[in-house]
Point group: C2
DNA sequence: CTGAATGTATCAATATATTAATACACCAGG
DNA sequence: CCTGGTGTATTAATATATTGATACATTCAG
């Protein structure tokens, strides 16, 4: 599994890990049923404490991405379902944050949409 | 001046204050030359400590929105100039953050752009 | 049955962010 | 001159987030 942790980054390691694993599952690079490295294994590889990796796994399990069982290890589940309502809510939140940043920069609508399109495409 | 501080919000008070004042200046509700309430005055009104308001003012001064002088008070400056390069960089950053959130939600391009347009328009 | 490997849970330690308090230096007005 | 109001700077206190360490319970392999 390809994950990179940058301890200098503004995001804490457990959050970087969570995001990256979620992305790997979303994109299909990690398919349902695949077993992830054990907590201690991954912690050792990345130079993190077990608790840090455990936290990332735990949150991913709460979100439905993973399923961990004692003795078995941690396995990828199907990409979690999300109600339309929840997705809309979270999308609106993200869009609102983007809009706030755009306004503070004094960028006009078209430029803002173009920038978003570029990032979404790439 | 109309500002609202919600101590329950995830953003700390000094950041809420900074953002709101910046927005007021951006939108022209606070024009160049207008004198803001004194630090102690505003802190008293909002129920915050002087240091908290001072921090918001200080950061706004660094960004070029305000100009504070001892004895005079704090006054609105012109909307700060920003190089095209810097604006592009920060816009790209914001767009990238939005794109990351969108991908994690599994939303397609058109829906994401529509959501952004809605928030930017409103 | 035994042991090693697994995820889980809990707590202490640390770092960071944020706030609050205090003292300081400066300016305007009377 | 001097008093009250101003922003500035520094420091301590607090809260929060994050990590690290440890003990625990379960599972599988042999």
């Amino acid at each position: 599994m390809i994950v990179e942790i940058d301890v200098e980054a503004p995001l804490p390691p457990y959050e970087q890990l969570r995001t990256q694993i979620a992305a790997l599952i979303r994109t299909g690079e990690l398919k349902e049923g695949v077993r992830l490295p054990s907590i201690r294994q991954l912690a050792g590889d990345l130079g993190l404490a077990s608790g840090t990796v455990a936290r990332a796994y735990r949150e991913l399990e709460s979100a439905g991405y993973l399923r961990g069982r004692v003795g078995h290890g941690t396995v990828v589940r199907a990409i979690p379902e999300m109600t339309d309502k929840e997705r809309d809510t979270r999308l609106a939140e993200a869009a609102r944050a983007y809009a706030t940043a755009v306004r503070e920069l004094g960028v006009d609508l078209d430029a803002a949409l173009l920038a978003a399109r570029r990032q979404l495409a790439g």
